[in-house]
Amino acid sequence: MIIRRRKLVNASVLTVSCLAAFGGLFVLIWILADVVLKGAGAINWSFFSQLPTPPGMSGGGLANAIVGTFLMTGTAVIIAVPFGIMAGTYLAEFGDNLLGRVARFLSDILVSAPSIVIGVFIYLVMVKTMGHFSGWAGAVSLAIIMLPVVSRTTEEMLKLIGPEMRESALALGAPYWRMMSGVIFRAAGPGIGTGVMLAVARVAGETAPLLFTSLNSPYWMHSMNEPMANLTVVMFNYAMSPYDDWHTKAWGAALLITSAVLIVNIFTRLILGGKRRR
């Protein structure tokens, strides 16, 4: 009798866990299907080439927002990648001390910290002091979000390089920094590169830190020093608006960003997965 009950409990738990797993897969497919079905209608040539039109007027596109997202993400990469790689190098090579432990701990918290608070912080230190919203402020807040991802990935990738390479370089009389730049960084390069790609994919979809740093704009930008259109804030404004045409465009932007982010994620997983097996 007891055995039968135990088997029954076991079977039901296993069934539930299968259901949970397939439920997760189902939700992924459900969301992606909605994004594709609702967004595909918005994608056409003018979506990529024209400025937004005022509400009520059909046509137009999100060209300025697409360029803005590229500009701010690119600037964030230029700031965060060297910063993050240097910090990650310290964590991997010299990080077994107080500074290393503190920086590692804070990086791990910063990775999951609420991005909207980073937006508030940049608003206070940049937007408020400069007196206006700007693309620079948006780029810096994205850079702060990327930074801990890059530094922790760099650390992990450097630690994967075995002692043989280090020792052979040092045995040839190379100073430590030559060993790092000439041998270790080269060996860890592809791994760090995929980490950077993942960090880019992560910030490309960020909205909250841009809401009050870069704001939004219906016009072409003349410099990074002015409010700048970007895809995610446009999505937020359009989706919250009462116009059907704007809803469709928001879904179009969602399709664009989601597909880019997922492609990068799958691609890097394939590369990293192949590496791990080796």
Binding site: V13, K38, M86, F105, I116, V117, L124, F212, M235, A239
Partner: protein, 304 residues
């Protein structure tokens, strides 16, 4: 000799400059707390501790109390954890024990891809797809069968606390389940095999061997998901309803700290209003700092 000195100098510069950037991370973190603390001084001076206990948030009368957004943040997070913890453990059992070897990689990737979808897409999906489903099917059903409980009373409009909690559930499942799976995979094989040898069922091995063995890692995973849910902005802003009411009903609209910031920050006029919003941000940052700090401590101690 001179060459040797050059080498030593190069290494010093190398180590020093990397240390500079590592310290930079800590400096950014500390600067965030200091700046938020400074800028919330007007609000801290005006309201003191009553900021955290007052339910009134009124920009017209300049009275600001954070209880409703703080409560909304906590309630939506607890709804999310309530659903996400058992589902994530189920997914982890499936990925670590049940699924055939060839399925584990692709299936695990699919679940992790849920974490890669931008949060604003979750928000739009929650508003345009999930909310109508909730309003037309789920909420009437819950009201019919469980309506005598105050939690499920009132008219469901789709958007509200419950829907926000469910969207958060979907967003944190990939984080929690992939960490728990890794914890399960680290349980030594001999332990599991001895239990199986004694005649334990799969579930008994999970319950009595794997979960106790990995309890710190599991706690870390849960707190990691909790930290994510507390600070999530865009997805919640779309579906929580953005209203300053505290209601027993989970169908009612509410507000969270992050959605309050997203909606009001650019419109805040006057120093006190702005500073109260900054203080809200500070409260959120400190709560997530504690939660994520605990998560890191537990996840680290697992490694040792």
């Amino acid at each position: 000799m001179q060459d040797h000195n050059k080498t030593a100098l190069g290494d010093k510069i190398f180590k020093g400059s990397t240390a500079f950037f590592a310290a930079g991370i800590a400096v950014i973190f500390i600067a965030m707390i200091v700046v938020l603390w400074q800028q919330s001084q007007p609000s801290i001076k005006a309201f003191g501790l009553s900021f955290l206990t007052s339910m009134e948030w009124n920009p017209v009368t300049r009275k600001f109390g954070a209880l409703i957004p703080v409560a909304g943040t906590l309630i939506s997070t607890f709804i999310a954890l309530f659903f996400a913890i058992p589902i994530s453990i189920g997914i982890a059992i499936f990925l670590a024990e049940l699924a055939p070897q060839w399925l584990r990689g692709p299936f695990g990737t699919a679940i992790e891809l849920l974490a890669a979808i931008p949060s604003i897409v979750y928000g739009m999906w929650g508003l345009f797809v999930l909310s109508p489903v909730m309003a037309n099917y789920v909420q009437p059903w819950l009201k019919h069968w469980l309506g005598f409980i105050p939690l499920f009373s009132g008219h469901g409009m789709g958007i509200g606390m419950l829907t926000a909690g469910l969207v958060l559930t979907l967003m944190i499942i990939p984080f929690i389940s992939s960490v728990i799976r890794d914890v399960f995979l680290m349980v030594p094989q001999p332990l599991k095999e001895s239990a199986y040898g004694l005649g334990c069922t799969n579930w008994e091995v999970v319950r009595d061997i794997m979960i106790p063995y990995g309890r710190k890692g599991i706690a870390g995973a849960v707190f990691l998901g909790m930290g994510r849910a507390l600070g999530e902005t865009m997805a919640v802003t779309f579906v929580i309803g953005n209203s300053y009411h505290l209601s027993w009903s989970l169908f009612a609209p509410g507000n969270s700290i992050a959605s309050t910031l997203a909606n009001e920050f650019t419109e805040a006029d006057g120093q006190l209003y702005m500073s109260s919003l900054v203080e809200l941000g500070l409260v959120l940052f400190l709560i997530t700092f504690v939660v994520l700090g605990l998560a890191q401590l537990w996840l680290r101690s697992k490694e040792v």
